[in-house]
């Protein structure tokens, strides 16, 4: 069973979703929770069985799909993808568990289960086409969630979300086809296998073009400035659960793809584009933080704040050294936990007041102390307080990028200031001061269902902030092998200069990543 655990992880929820149609409405919630719980247990088992000291792919499965065109159903996890998969299962569980009373909850849960399939699939896929399939498929349930359960502008938001990402990923698809074609030219066989592509050393100009093609697809998903405008709408209109999953997992697809595809496939292009992308990332960090400060709607604040944090992740990714990339991957998890929790928290007051306008609130700390405390913890995690999960990631990302550019890191570091500004300002508006609006005077504090979702997140946020080692080590190993691979592949002196050579980790470079020249 462990040989096929990834397939099981992917298709179990989908299957459960199909069966879900047969279940009566009232039983649906329990069904959803139990399915998600099983899935989560499986993912934990995966983690348990995962050998953190190995840097290569594990639990690999392969099944010919279109062999004549080089498309195979190949799966595998390494330290980079493992934890995001676990996180996805974790959040689906929390999301379904804390699902508040929604209209036809049955479809909602089924949709969530399908969404989970696509999420796990994206992170487990080792074949470009399989990856693309899940990548695109993940749009559909999300669009449905936003469009069917969202706010007044929901249709505009969902269509924008769909078309924007769809366009980007089609360009990316063309890039993938090019990649496969070059592989065909080089070796004489078609292949979309990622590990095959890793062996390819492309001439620089090709790298640049392909990098650009992939970049468009990924950047829109992340979303990077200036492709970010779909996100505020999507978050602003989506129901709580939608925002949570979107922020916690879906956005990570883009950054994950950067690490999985762009870096190892185009090391020289990555080195070449490092500075421009870093500048974009810095704009993301500062600009969106300022925009967040101007928001009136607490949910929009958090939406923009996620963009800001994604900027740090991008920065860490393009540090192109172990510290930075490891940090960025860890920050993916961190931001997933924190942003997810914050969106859940916003959902709590939204359920009570059906408004997200900060002007409607004030002095909530008097009436909802527990809520205020949890919110404060998560806010502090979000502004990167040490001993919380986000700090580790941000610290490492910035630390990593500092090796590449001092001044840019200094600019990006302004993020920790502006981040504090909008977060504290929002917190002050909502929780501090006297209770002015009598509607707020006797709001109930967080209930059990909400605590079920929030407490684990608080625990994780602090646990991984204090003791990130169990997660950091596997990530570190895998990242090392990727960086080494990039270094060995890089053909321009720029790449050689910017990508460090980790000679001492030579022995852990896996055999999939042995280099052969293209001729």
């Amino acid at each position: 069973m462990l040989d096929h655990i990834l397939s099981i992880l992917i298709f179990f929820p989908a299957l459960a979703g199909v069966f879900g149609f047969m279940i009566q409405k009232d039983g649906m919630r329990a069904y959803g929770v139990s399915v998600a719980a099983i899935e989560f247990a499986l993912s934990l088992w995966l983690w348990y069985a995962f050998d953190g000291s190995v840097s290569g792919m594990q639990f690999m499965e392969s099944l010919p799909l279109v062999p004549s065109f080089g498309i195979n159903y190949t799966l595998g996890v390494d330290g980079i993808s493992l934890f995001i998969i676990v996180l996805a299962a974790f959040f689906t569980l929390l999301g379904i568990g804390s699902l508040t009373d929604t209209a036809n909850v049955k479809y909602m849960i089924i949709t969530l289960l399908f969404l989970q399939m696509t999420m796990v699939g994206v992170f487990a896929a080792l074949d470009a086409i399989v990856f693309y399939v899940f990548w695109e498929l993940s749009l559909v349930p999300m669009v449905y969630i936003i469009g069917a359960w969202g706010g007044p502008l929901r249709i505009y938001a969902s269509i924008k979300f769909f078309l924007y990402t769809f366009t980007g990923s089609l360009v990316m698809l063309v890039g993938m086809l090019f990649m496969a074609y070059f592989y065909y030219q080089a070796t004489g066989v078609w292949s979309f296998g990622l590990l095959d592509w890793y062996r390819l050393v492309l001439p620089e100009n090709l790298q640049l073009w392909l990098f650009a093609a992939f970049f468009i697809g990924f950047a829109i998903k992340v979303p990077m400035f200036p492709f970010h405008t779909w996100l505020p709408y999507a978050h602003g209109q989506a129901p709580t659960i939608g925002s949570v999953i979107l922020a916690a997992i879906l956005l990570k697809m883009g950054t994950y793809a950067f690490v999985r595809f762009s870096l190892p496939l185009f090391p020289d292009a990555s080195a070449f584009f490092m500075i421009p992308i870093a500048i974009l990332a810095i704009i993301m960090v500062i600009y969106t933080a300022m925009v967040a400060y101007a928001q009136k709607d607490i949910k929009q604040v958090i939406a923009y704040s996620s963009i800001s944090h994604m900027g740090i992740i991008i920065l860490g990714t393009f540090a192109l050294n172990v510290e930075g990339v490891t940090g960025s991957i860890f920050l993916m998890l961190g931001h997933g936990v924190v942003a997810g929790a914050l969106f859940l928290l916003v959902g709590v007051i939204y359920d009570r007041r059906h408004t997200k306008m900060m002007s409607e609130f004030g002095g909530l700390a008097h009436v909802m102390p527990k809520y205020a405390t949890i919110f404060a913890i998560m806010m502090m995690a979000s502004v990167g307080m040490p001993l919380t999960i986000n700090f580790v990631g941000e610290f490492l990302s910035l630390l990593g990028f500092y090796q590449q550019s001092h001044i840019l890191t200094l600019l990006a570091g302004i993020g920790i200031i502006v981040g504090a500004i909008y977060m504290l300002a929002a917190y002050k508006k909502v929780f501090f001061g006297e209770v002015t609006n009598e509607k707020n005077e006797n709001l109930p504090d967080v209930n059990k269902k909400e605590l079920f979702a929030l407490v684990p997140l608080v625990i994780v946020a602090i646990w991984l902030g204090v003791y990130p080692k169990p997660v950091l080590d596997p990530i570190n190993n895998s990242v090392k092998s990727i960086i080494q691979l990039m270094h060995n592949k890089s053909i321009t002196e720029l790449g050689q200069e910017r990508i460090p050579d980790l000679v001492k980790v030579k022995e852990i470079v896996i055999q999939e990543t042995t280099i052969e020249e293209v001729r």
Binding site: K160, L163, Y164, P226, H228, T229, Y287, M290, V291, Y293, A294, Q295, N321, V322, E323, T326, G327, G363, H366, P369, K370, T373, M380, M385, P386, L387, V392, F395, L396, L398, L399, G400, Y402, Q403, H406, T409, L410, G413, I414, I416, I417, A420, I421, L424, A425, K428, F431, F432, G433, E434, V466, Y467, P468, K469, L472, D473, I475, N476, V479, L502
Partner: protein
């Protein structure tokens, strides 16, 4: 020894978590007591460690566990107790124990009683981490931790707008400095490959001066934030919105001195870059004067004390900058005692006066609050540096150091500031405790604080009086790691003249203050000539710096954010995207009537298409047939 270390470190955490359990519940007296006991245990173990170190024991160094490890980076939770950190531990635990006990009384009627103790102990824990950590990352944990706790404690009365505003201001200003600190840490890592003190210090000597200078500057920026040095000083005065015990503990004794601690800790770095040191010293001297001048005219008891704290921090930085680390540290310790005492006294007064802060509305309180009066007077004497109180030994050593290092400007500034210090301290004392009972106008019936609060304060009183005797043993202790040397003015007479002169100068200032304010009768209403003089206004408005920040930085930031959102994000970035979609859709709308549905139009389209193809064909055909001619023509044209 390690178990003492762990007790000293984690007792506060335990106490914080314990009190945190009851935050949601109404006041529980025992939380305060338990918290105080735990902090006290921390104090005891710190004392044990101090004794151990005094006996010349090896510094205690433990590595609890790994925190972050990736690439070459390795950061453990490592803690060290050596001569420097043990001093800080003593100061921190001692003052905080007293403040805890004091607070039981002070926060008596507050419904946030339990929450208060939770925050307070959390602060102590962060402070202990800060001082005990054996690497810069760990220091940074504590650094941010104390910032967080001060945020929570300044904004403790979160129903007060000003309080929460001040809390955010403090947090954000510290963040600005923290960025500098962070960059400093990055520099240390990428240049030395480690963040451990010992490793880094060992590597520093191999680095070129430029790098070291940058490291020194960035680390000092961090220090400037925490120690509220100019231009990041405004938050400290506003932080007085917090409960007074908090001001005593955080904004007088411990947190604000973290910056000094950092500089002292990194002494080996700053020894290598004297220029930066000089800059630090000059800035310190400037701040000392600057803050003192603002304290002269202020009418808010706590703010006056806050400014004096600021000014004393300036002294410490002056000393540290001049390389007299042990002096700085000693002054830090002494200052912690008498300043905390001063604040707690002020706290008593506030209680008595129902949170009235304007000393002009008090007066003659010594009748009802004898003990408080005595304590505050002695504390002020110590602050003013009158023999034989604590301040004399610490402060005059700084002056001597400045003199001995031949930085006479700094010396002069500091000397002058000493006079100002004396003046405003006793202006305060005089206004509060002497003269007519102006408070009667406001119908207030002051009363002395609880007995146990006074008893709790007594250790500070004693220390404020006798701390000077520790100077020699302290010096002997710290000289092992800090390159300390006694500052001896060569000729004995000069020294004598200096000491006496200083004393006289200070005494005169005190007398002048008494003469001017001891018999004050009226409450100034902003009409008198002096209050309308430019200098007064300038000082009273803190040189208009807060105003400047508010007008030109905060406001413009707000406006810029608005612009970014409404104009840039909505009108440009988003509009472009929608615009592209709109263009595509619009083209469809416009061209759709090509499909007029009329048959003959359709036929015309077909024929048109054919004709188009034909004409293209003809063109190409001719081009192909006469290609040679065309080529020749083109070549003739030079294409």
């Amino acid at each position: 020894m390690e178990k003492y270390l762990y007790i000293a470190l984690f007792a506060p955490l335990v106490s914080s978590l314990f009190s945190a359990l009851f935050t949601a519940t109404p006041k529980k007296m025992f939380t305060g007591i338990v918290a105080s006991l735990l902090i006290f245990s921390s104090l005891v173990s710190s004392f044990v460690l101090l004794m151990y170190i005094l006996d010349g024991g090896e510094p205690v160094h433990v590595e609890m566990m790994t925190w972050m490890a990736t690439g070459h980076l390795y950061i453990p939770f490592g803690f060290i107790v050596d001569q420097v950190s043990v001093t800080m531990m003593m100061v921190v635990t001692l003052v905080s124990t007293i403040v805890h006990i004091y607070s039981i009384g002070y926060m008596d009627h507050d419904k946030g009683f339990n929450r208060f103790f939770s925050w307070l102990s959390a602060f102590v824990f962060s402070m202990m981490v800060l001082v005990m950590s054996d690497n810069y990352a760990g220091l940074f944990i504590g650094w941010e931790g104390v910032g967080l706790c001060s945020w929570g404690l300044i904004g403790f009365w979160f129903h007060k707008e000003v309080a929460t505003w001040a809390a955010n201001e403090a947090f954000i200003m510290n963040r600005i400095a923290d960025l500098g600190m962070l960059i400093g840490i990055f520099l240390v890592y990428w240049n030395t490959g480690t963040l451990q003190y010992d490793g880094a210090f060992a590597a520093f000597s191999t680095l070129d001066t430029a790098t070291l200078t940058w490291i020194g500057i960035f680390l000092f920026i961090g220090a400037m934030g925490k120690s509220a040095q100019f231009p990041l000083h405004t938050w400290l005065a506003d932080a007085m919105e917090g409960p007074t015990p908090v001001s005593a503990l955080i904004h007088a004794a411990t947190m604000v001195t973290a910056g000094v601690y950092l500089v002292v800790r990194s002494g080996e770095l700053y020894d290598l870059i004297p220029n930066v040191g000089l800059f630090i010293a000059s800035l310190g001297a400037f701040v000392a004067l600057f803050a003192a001048s603002m304290a002269l005219v202020n009418r808010d008891m706590k703010r006056i004390i806050a400014y004096s704290t600021l000014s004393q921090l300036g002294y410490m930085f002056a000393a540290a900058g001049l390389g007299a680390y042990w002096v700085a540290l000693f002054h830090l310790m002494a200052h912690a005692f008498f300043k905390a005492l001063l604040f707690l006294g002020a706290g008593n007064v506030m209680h008595a006066m129902h949170d009235e802060l304007d000393p002009f509305k008090m007066g003659g309180l010594k009748k009802v609050m004898r003990w408080t009066w005595i304590m505050m007077t002695i504390a002020s004497l110590a602050l003013a540096g009158i023999f034989p109180f604590a301040g004399f030994f610490s402060k005059d050593t700084i002056l001597e150091a400045a003199f001995a290092e031949h930085h006479f400007v700094i010396y002069g500034v500091l000397l002058f500031t000493a006079g100002l210090t004396a003046f405003y301290s006793f202006r305060l004392v005089a206004l509060i405790f002497h003269g007519e009972e102006r408070y009667k106008i406001f119908g207030i019936h002051p009363h002395e604080a609880y007995r146990f609060m006074l008893i709790a304060m007594s250790p500070l009183l004693i220390l404020a009086m006798i701390a000077g005797v520790f100077q020699v043993p302290f010096f002997e202790m710290v000289e092992e790691i800090l390159n300390a040397h006694e500052y001896h003015i060569h000729s004995h007479t000069t020294l004598l003249i200096m000491l006496v002169g200083t004393q006289v100068f200070v005494a005169l200032a005190i007398l002048y203050a008494y003469k001017k304010y001891a018999s004050w009768s009226s409450v100034p209403d902003g009409t008198s000539a002096i209050e309308n003089s430019f200098v007064y206004k300038l000082l009273y408005n803190q040189y208009y710096i807060p105003y400047f920040y508010e007008e030109y930085i905060v406001k413009s930031y707000k406006e810029m954010s608005e612009v970014f959102w409404t104009k840039v994000d909505m009108k440009i970035v988003d509009a472009t995207v929608d615009g592209i979609a709109g263009i595509i859709y619009g083209t469809g709308e416009k061209t759709r009537d090509m499909q007029s549905g009329n048959l003959s139009t359709m036929l015309k389209w077909m024929v048109a298409g054919l004709v188009g193809l034909l004409s293209l064909a003809v063109v190409f055909g001719l081009a192909a047939r006469y290609s040679d001619e065309i080529l020749s023509i083109l070549s003739a044209l030079g294409v």
